[in-house]
């Protein structure tokens, strides 16, 4: 057994242990478990961090379907998140639907929207598609905030939408499992897609769209379907987010920064793979949380005045980002599974491949 294989086994065992902990530990917060004097393994902070991390796992994995597999650099996926959030938000806040009835419509609405904008947009290539999809992302947020009908805002306007807080029992546990479920679904969908005829078609489009058309792939249908699939998953995360967060408005449902973050996560983990984006989401989310001080372990640089710390943390984030992009362009997933090892030679090779 080579060293790398041993590493691979260790990592798989570790990964399974972490996942098992994440799935089982929350159960100790149930009243039944507490009555049995089981030790409490989670708290509300744990739940919030875990839920938001799972949310990004969904978004990064969903982006991977259009961005990683199909090779179309979508830069406005946050529009689908927002549409999902506002679909459940409107149904709950205005139509008084129960949450579980409203949630399934979130991915549906996002997917329908993706088909509508995807048909014209997906004719564009490269940068042009990226910029156009960014434009759609910005415009949708603006419309949702400002559209009026007879002087009354249609979607709650700038005041946003408030939902009842205690709509479900054990809400922390509930939303964590829901978001984790969504993450599981998106990973499973990616897994299934990659192994299907559909997935081969998408990869063919990524490698050479003209050639794909020649061998009989209906490129338009494939691209739009991939876009809609990504939108549906992202919209599902948005729909869960709405009721979880209780309050939604344009600012928290259409944050332009999320566009960048989800792509960053996918790249960091490794695009085009099944687990890469998820791994990237976990790593980057933990890093962001670490730098902003919400983890039990905090950053404490010597000789830095306390006021300057948060600003420096942002600089550190920028530097790390640049380093990853420059030195590890295939993502962290490349180091797992014995494909590559983090050595000086690896870094040199990465540099040589991409620089002039």
């Amino acid at each position: 057994m080579t060293t790398s294989q041993r590493w691979q086994r260790i990592l798989i065992v570790l990964g399974c242990a972490v996942i098992a902990y994440a799935v089982l530990a929350p159960l100790t917060s149930l009243d039944g478990a507490q009555a049995l004097n089981l030790p409490l393994l989670t708290d509300k902070l744990w739940f919030r961090l875990a839920t938001i991390t799972a949310m990004f796992v969904v978004m990064a994995t969903a982006w991977n379907i259009i961005g990683g597999l199909t090779g179309y650099a979508a830069f406005g996926n946050v529009a689908f998140f927002g549409i999902g959030a506002y679909t459940t938000g409107m149904l709950i806040a205005k139509a008084k639907w129960p949450f579980l009835l409203a949630l399934p419509l979130a991915p549906v609405a996002a997917a329908i929207f993706a088909v509508l904008v995807g048909l014209p947009l997906l004719r564009l290539r490269g940068h042009y598609f990226a910029v156009a999809s960014l434009g759609v992302g910005v415009a949708v947020g603006e419309l949702v905030q400002n559209l009026d009908y007879r002087g009354e805002p249609i979607f709650g306007g700038a005041s946003g939408l408030f939902m009842p807080i205690f709509a479900v029992p054990n809400r922390d546990l509930y939303f964590f499992y829901l978001m984790l479920g969504a993450a599981g679904v998106s990973i499973a969908v990616t897994w299934a897609v990659i192994r299907s005829r559909f997935g081969y078609g998408l990869i063919a489009i990524r490698e050479n769209e003209e050639a794909a058309a020649v061998i009989g792939v209906n490129t338009t249908a494939y691209k739009v379907a991939a876009f809609a699939l990504a939108a549906a998953l992202t919209g599902l995360a948005g729909g869960i987010f709405a009721q979880w967060n209780v309050f939604i408005d344009q600012e928290n449902s259409f944050p332009i920064a999320y566009n960048v973050e989800m792509i960053l996560m996918a790249l960091l983990g490794g695009t085009g793979t099944v687990f890469g984006p998820a791994a990237g989401a976990v790593v980057l989310q933990l890093l962001i949380q670490f730098l902003s001080g919400s983890l039990p372990i905090t950053l404490d640089l010597p000789f830095v005045p306390e006021d300057a710390m948060p600003v420096l943390a942002q600089v550190v984030l920028g530097v790390l980002l640049a380093l990853v992009v420059i030195f590890a362009p295939r993502g962290v997933i490349d180091f797992f599974g014995g494909r590559s090892r983090l050595t000086i030679a690896y870094l040199r090779r990465s540099l040589r491949e991409t620089s002039i």
Binding site: G67, A73, F75, P120, L121, R123, L124, G126, H127, Y128, A130, V131, A132, L134, G135, V136, V138, A139, E142, L143, Q145, N146, D148, V260, I263, L264, L267, A308, V311, L312, Q314, V315, L317, G318, V319, L320, L321, A322, V325, I326, P329, L351, E353, T354, S355, I356
Partner: protein, 289 residues
Amino acid sequence: MADLVQLVIIGLLAGGIYAAVGVGFSLVWGVLNIVNLAHGALVIVGAYLTWQIFTASGLDPFLTLPIDAVALFAFGYVVQRGVINRIIRAPLLFTFLLTFGLNLIAVNVLLLIFKSDFRSVTTAYSGAGLDLGGIVVPYIRLAALGIALLVAAALALLLNRTRVGLAIQAVGSDRDAAQLVGIDLRHAYAVTYGLGAACAGVAGGLIAMIQAITPTAGEPYTLQAFVVVILGGLGRVSATVVGGLVFGLVEAFAQSIPGSGSVFANAIAFGVMVLVLVTRPQGLLGRLR
């Protein structure tokens, strides 16, 4: 009628600033194939430079513009040569992410140095202007438009009439062929990015005179540069200038819609952009690359 003329003037004057911001962005995108998300940050670096020199020495802000250009050229050259050249062959998204990281660094370093206070360059002639029978033309904005056109013209001349410029164009159209004929790619790339940064610096100096600046004030300009460049069509300086002016006009007319029309200025501008992209990917008057 007078209202309409005034609105057109407002749009064109605002458009001058967008053109100034856009030409550097367009050059870097067109030649290096980099969508430079740090462009707005470079603009604001230029703005702070003008503000700092003006505050410290009282030098007329227009005279600081050459200093902005030189300083940002040097800065841009170093950044491209030292950092961005390292990933120039990587897929498209990596340049997005690298420049996003650079933007994060630049904005927060500015925040460390200058704090979050709003700063503005206010001279004796700030706000004054020509009054042509009820139609107002502020001096500073007029001069800004003139300088934007001048910068664009100088850049066009440089690209078409000098050895360096022709080398840059050669690199832009075929990297490998350019290398074969003996062009130093690293240098050519760094000069290109430096020129883009210099244009951003000048635009920033102008912006410091017409609005209050903070370290985060550059981000909207990056977003607008996208639209400007797409509207005009990528790769030609004159096309970007037209794109800037058109964007200024679209924005002004969107803002003049009664009631809440102006909150859709971004949606309208991006809507026009997407329309242009889908129907005329070469831009309003550009050529397809």
